[in-house]
């Protein structure tokens, strides 16, 4: 799945997916949830939160 495909699925701009991948943008809980659903996995599998 390309960044554009994922962006279209979750309803955001492609740059937003790019910055999330690069770790330069923290998505809202809703967007994180939508991404995890689009990728058929859990939020914990995709996002790692450092203390």
């Amino acid at each position: 799945m390309t960044q554009e495909d994922l962006a279209r699925k979750v309803g955001v701009r492609r740059e937003t997916i790019l910055f999330i991948e690069k770790g330069k943008y923290n998505p809202s809980l809703k967007l994180a949830h939508d991404i995890s659903r689009a990728l058929q996995t859990t939020i914990e599998e995709i996002f790692i939160f450092d203390d």
Partner: protein, 139 residues
């Protein structure tokens, strides 16, 4: 529909600004040094507006939203910073008239020029900050 309306409105304002600048440039009144700034800054604003509109159109054509949560957040963040910048620009014009115009003999800015400088520079700061934030991600 709302996105298309905002694009049409933005394009309309950009065209209107260009027409005003053209009328000013080719009108009967002579142009002074400070007036050149008041022409250049709106032109930069128009170019900035066209860039943003083009970016939005590109996303809409690709079937993506023109503005998402990140874009909206950065839009308002840039607006908040531009508001603070506007206050400093207003103070700057006051200082200019006190320090440069009254004491060093530079031409004094009249009320109309002060308003124009504040409005145009704050718009410029807002555009520049939006562009910068959009390129930086958010963190």
């Amino acid at each position: 529909m709302k996105e298309k309306m905002s694009i049409v409105a933005g394009a309309g304002i950009a065209i209107l600004l260009l027409v005003i600048v053209a009328l000013y440039l080719f009108g009967p009144s002579s142009i002074e040094t400070y007036d050149v700034l008041l022409i250049i800054i709106p032109l930069i604003l128009v170019v900035g507006a066209i860039t943003f509109l083009w970016d939005r159109l590109k996303n809409i054509r690709a079937g993506l939203p023109s503005a998402d949560e990140r874009a909206k957040k950065l839009h308002w963040k840039a607006g908040a910073y531009a508001y603070i910048a506007t206050i400093w620009i207003a103070i700057g014009t006051m200082w200019y008239n006190i320090i440069f115009a009254e004491n060093l003999g530079y031409p004094e800015l009249n009320a109309g020029q002060v308003v124009a400088v504040i409005v145009l520079l704050s718009g410029l700061v807002w555009f520049a900050l939006q562009f910068y934030f959009m390129k930086q991600g958010d963190i």
